[in-house]
């Protein structure tokens, strides 16, 4: 009897709390949409999973003596950009225009100090959005590291990604994704970061590879991947994580999310299949590295387009993207520059193709206007990202090189990054008792 009375009081109290909540919502502050919030939290986690995935993907492709140094490039980005994003990155990317629209700034976002109870119109706490976007900011500079692999100083790399994030990523992110960014206002479609992340990272990688110069012995000496098994597992993480990357970019849990997820799956599969067929026809053998390259080519191609193209468009974008990447890498081999892990050849090329090619496959109603208008806006966005990132990267590289040094000494490069930079070894189990 007593128990049920207490339960009744609690029930009344709970109802009152709900009423208070409703009243509050009626005030104009949006209510939390638990479905969207749950999916966005999941997406945030999935995108973070891509960073260790990238570490494994890149780590397996280098030589044994550089495996830890290479994986540390991705992991270091989680720490460095993880902090930088909280301090000022989110503010620069998503605050209102300052400095003539070069970047944004909102004092409330500085140190994330003013968004403790903010709920966005999409029904998610602003913390979720800030953290979701923060994962994108982490993965962009981590991608570039593939072009520097096996020959860059750790300190130089760390300072480089700080400056690159501040001067390249945050402004670009602001231009394309913030509601008052100039490319956003022109109606540029970049669903999940083809322009902001993959074109800019690809361009930076190309400039970085040319600036640093080739590794010792490249391309004459064979440099075998130390562990393709790890590369394949990493590619698997990337494919899975990409569902968060693309489908999460809808910032909802509904139709758009389903459309983006479907397009992502189709493009990844068609990219891999296309690469397999190409290698089978040209070399009579299909390689596992080729397969995962095709997966990535397909995923990058669909990234700018995921929410705005029909399934058959995703199929074509992925398949053709893989062909472009295949020949971009062939071309690199002919030209002889050492973009070690083909960051430009895969991410740069596929993202440019995806950003411009998406115009041909838009679902009815998507896009802002005429075909030609959209084609121009897409091309303009790609060129801006390519040129801005390339030029700024060169300036940052020159400055970092002058004050901190970038390229490993010849002796350190010969000894390997694991030994010379970290005093560690990746594969202790190969030795008896060390």
């Amino acid at each position: 009897m007593k128990k049920s009375k207490r339960a009744a009081i609690w029930a009344v109290f709970a109802t009152l709390m709900c009423l208070v909540g409703t009243v509050h919502a009626a005030d104009g502050s949006p209510e939390i949409d638990t479905g969207t919030t749950a999916w966005m939290l999941t997406s945030t986690t999935l995108v973070l999973l891509m960073v260790p995935g990238l570490a494994m993907f890149y780590g397996g492709l280098v030589r044994t003596k550089n495996v830890l140094g290479t994986m540390m490039h991705s992991f270091a980005a989680m720490a460095i950009i993880g902090v930088l994003w909280m301090v000022c990155g989110y503010s620069m990317a998503f605050g209102p225009n300052v400095l003539g629209g070069w970047c944004g700034w909102n004092p409330d976002y500085f140190m994330l100090k003013g968004i403790d109870t903010t709920i966005l119109d999409s029904g998610i706490p602003e913390y979720v959005f800030a953290m979701f976007q923060g994962k994108f900011a982490i993965i962009a500079p981590a991608l570039i590291a593939g072009a520097f692999a096996e020959r860059i100083k750790f300190r130089g790399y760390c300072i480089f990604i700080v400056l690159w994030s501040l001067l390249v990523y945050n402004p670009l992110c602001h231009w394309v994704w913030a509601s008052d960014g100039f490319l956003f206002k022109q109606g540029a479609i970049d669903f999940a970061g083809g322009t902001v992340i993959h074109i800019s990272a690809g361009s930076a990688a190309l400039v970085g590879a040319l600036y640093l110069g080739a590794r010792r012995g490249y391309p004459k000496t064979a440099m075998h991947p130390n562990n393709l098994v790890m590369t394949l597992v990493g590619a698997g993480f990337l494919w899975v994580g990409w569902f968060g990357f693309n489908a999460g970019s809808s910032v909802e849990s509904g139709l758009k999310t389903a459309q983006a997820l479907t397009a992502t799956q189709i493009a990844a599969a068609s990219g891999a299949l296309s690469w397999m067929i190409l290698e089978g026809l040209l070399h009579k053998k299909v390689s596992s590295l080729g397969f995962v390259s095709g997966v990535l080519a397909g995923l990058v191609s669909i990234t700018p387009a995921a929410g705005d193209v029909l399934p058959w468009g995703a199929l074509v974008l992925g398949a053709v993207g893989a062909v472009f990447c295949y020949y971009a890498i062939e071309l690199k081999n002919k030209l002889g520059y050492d973009d070690t892990l083909d960051v430009f050849g895969i991410h740069g090329v596929a993202a440019i193709w995806g950003a411009i090619g998406l115009v041909f496959f838009l679902r009815p109603g998507a896009g802002s206007g005429s075909f030609w208008g959209q084609l121009w806006v897409q091309t303009e966005g790609s060129i801006i990202s390519l040129v801005y990132s390339g030029v700024m990267t060169l300036i940052i590289l020159i400055v970092v090189d002058k004050f901190f040094g970038l390229r490993l000494s010849e002796a350190d490069e010969k000894a390997g990054m694991d030994h010379s930079l970290h005093s560690e070894r990746g594969y202790g189990m190969l030795n008896l008792n060390s």
Binding site: K65, K414, A415, G416, H419, S420, H422, S423, E424, R425, L430, N431, L432, N433, S434
Partner: protein, 114 residues
């Protein structure tokens, strides 16, 4: 014919290998090994400086005709040292007589087989 076995530091493998190739000694076999020596190397494990009890090294085996022994030894000495004067732990070179050498693909024996 002699069998030269050089135990060197891992980070000097590329130096030694490239120097041997430059001295026209291109046929070598390389193994990862562990051992005790004079060297007291330290590693960092989760921020703790530790001294491993067996130290990883690389073993380079080269079968050579007698005329090449001095070239091979001088090349390894020059390439495997840390710094101009060398350091404890740079390794050792063993030379042993080699009774026979047979190339599997052709069946050639002795000096021809090397």
């Amino acid at each position: 014919m002699k069998l030269i076995t050089a135990i060197i530091q891992e980070d000097k493998l590329d130096d030694v290998r490239e120097a041997l190739i430059a001295a026209e000694i291109g046929r070598i076999t390389v193994t990862r090994v562990d051992g005790h020596g004079q060297q007291q190397t330290t590693e960092i494990y989760r921020g703790l400086v530790v001294v491993p009890n067996l130290i990883p090294k690389v073993e380079v085996k080269i079968a050579v005709n007698d005329a090449f022994v001095d070239t091979a030894v001088d090349t390894i000495l020059a390439a495997a040292r840390h710094g101009a004067d060398g350091k404890p732990g740079d390794g050792k070179i063993f030379i042993a007589p080699l009774e026979e050498c047979i190339r599997i693909s052709t069946g050639e024996r002795g000096g021809e087989g090397i």
